[in-house]
C-alpha cells in the first residue's frame, strides 16, 4: 500500500514536470523494461535505443496517464515501441537488396552468436514465434496479471491463456530437452 502511495506521489511529480521523479521512475523500471526489450530483440544496441525511446515517450505521454495500473500503462507503451521497431525493421528489410541483406545477416549472426554463447535462453527463444515470445516476456518482465496482459494485447483472456500455455510448453521443451 505504502509502495503504491509512493508511486502515486512520484507520478504526480512527473505530471508536474519534476525531473527527479522521472529519474526515480527510470530507476524503478529501466531494468525490467530493458530485459523485456533484450529478450525480444536479442540485441543490446537495439534494446538501448528502445529503452531511451520508451522514457522519452513517458515524458510526452505522462499527462494522459489516468491512474490505471502504471505498469500496465508503461508496458503498453513498451509493446507499441517494440511493434514500431518490428515494422521499421520490416521496411528496412524491403529496401535492402539481396546482397546487402546476406552480408548484414552474416555480420549480425556473427555478432549475436558471440553475445548469445553465454545466454542459452536467448538462442532457444528464437525457436518461438515473435508473438509467443512477446507474450511470455510481457508476463515475466511486466509482472502483470493475465487479465491486464489480455487488455494490453486487445484479445480475450482465454486466447491469451491458450497462447501462453502453448508457448510455455514449447519453452520448457527447448530448454529442458
Amino acid at each position: 500500500m505504502a509502495e503504491s502511495d509512493d508511486l502515486a506521489r512520484i507520478i504526480t511529480g512527473c505530471k508536474n514536470g519534476d525531473s527527479r521523479c522521472f529519474s526515480k521512475v527510470v530507476d524503478m523500471y529501466a531494468s525490467r523494461c530493458y530485459g523485456y526489450f533484450y529478450r525480444l530483440t536479442g540485441d543490446n544496441d537495439i534494446s538501448d535505443e528502445l529503452l531511451s525511446e520508451l522514457f522519452v515517450k513517458l515524458v510526452e505521454k505522462i499527462g494522459s496517464y489516468k491512474g490505471v495500473s502504471f505498469e500496465s500503462w508503461l508496458f503498453k507503451i513498451a509493446t507499441n515501441i517494440f511493434h514500431d521497431h518490428l515494422r521499421s525493421k520490416q521496411r528496412r528489410k524491403k529496401l535492402l537488396d539481396v546482397l546487402k541483406k546476406q552480408l548484414e545477416s552474416e555480420i549480425t549472426e556473427h555478432k549475436q552468436s558471440d553475445d548469445e554463447q553465454s545466454d542459452k535462453l536467448q538462442i532457444r527463444l528464437k525457436t518461438l514465434d515473435t508473438d509467443t515470445r512477446e507474450l511470455i516476456m510481457l508476463r515475466f518482465y511486466s509482472q502483470l496479471s493475465f487479465k491486464e496482459i489480455a487488455e494490453i494485447r486487445s484479445e480475450p483472456i482465454g486466447t491469451t491463456l491458450a497462447k501462453m500455455h502453448r508457448g510455455i510448453k514449447k519453452l520448457r521443451q527447448v530448454m529442458e530437452g
Partner: protein, 173 residues
C-alpha cells in the same frame, strides 16, 4: 501481482481449462518462471541510464511549454464556447422579454370619427359626406354621358378640386 500466487492462478486456469490441463499449465508457468529467473537478461548500462535521465531533463522545459500552450488553447476554446453560448442565451432572453409586436392596420375611417363618442354628430357628418359624394358622382356621370353644356375640362378640374377638398375635410374630421 495478485494472480502470481499458485492458488489464484489455479482458480483462473480452472475457469478456462479442465482440471488436468489447469494443473499442468500452473506447473509449466512455475517452471518457465524458474527458467527465466535462472537466465537473467543483461542490465542496462549505467551510462545509458545517465543519458536517459539527462535527455529527460533536457526535454522537460520544452514539454512544459508545450503543456502550457495546450492549456492556453484549451482555455481559449472554452472561453470562446462560453461567449458564444452566452450570446445565444442573451438573444433568446431578449426575444422572450420583448412585448408582442403590435399589428398596424391602415385606418380606413378618420381617427376623429373613430375616436369620437358623439355618434349622432358623426352620423350627420357621414350623411353630409355621403350626399356630397353622391352629388359628385352624379356630375361625373353627366359629364361622361355628355349632358354637360359648359367647358368640360374646367368642370372636371373643379370636380377634382372639390373631391380633394372633401377628402381633406373628411380625414380631418
Amino acid at each position: 501481482m495478485n494472480d502470481l500466487n499458485e492458488k489464484s492462478l489455479n482458480e483462473l486456469f480452472e475457469k478456462f481449462f479442465d482440471d488436468e490441463q489447469a494443473k499442468s499449465f500452473a506447473e509449466d508457468i512455475q517452471k518457465a518462471e524458474q527458467i527465466l529467473r535462472g537466465h537473467p537478461a543483461p542490465e542496462p548500462d549505467d551510462m545509458l541510464i545517465a543519458n536517459i535521465k539527462a535527455e529527460i531533463a533536457m526535454r522537460l522545459p520544452a514539454e512544459r511549454a508545450r503543456h502550457f500552450r495546450r492549456m492556453v488553447y484549451k482555455l481559449i476554446s472554452i472561453a470562446a464556447a462560453i461567449v458564444i453560448l452566452a450570446t445565444i442565451s442573451v438573444q433568446f432572453l431578449v426575444e422572450d422579454g420583448k412585448k408582442p409586436r403590435e399589428v398596424s392596420y391602415a385606418s380606413l375611417i378618420p381617427a376623429a370619427i373613430w375616436d369620437s363618442d358623439d355618434i349622432t354628430a358623426d352620423d350627420e357628418n357621414l350623411a353630409i359626406f355621403t350626399a356630397e359624394i353622391e352629388e359628385i358622382e352624379g356630375e361625373v356621370l353627366n359629364l361622361e354621358s355628355g349632358e354637360d353644356t359648359g367647358n368640360g375640362n374646367r368642370t372636371i378640374t373643379e370636380l377634382e378640386m372639390e373631391l380633394i377638398e372633401i377628402n381633406s375635410d373628411f380625414w380631418k374630421g
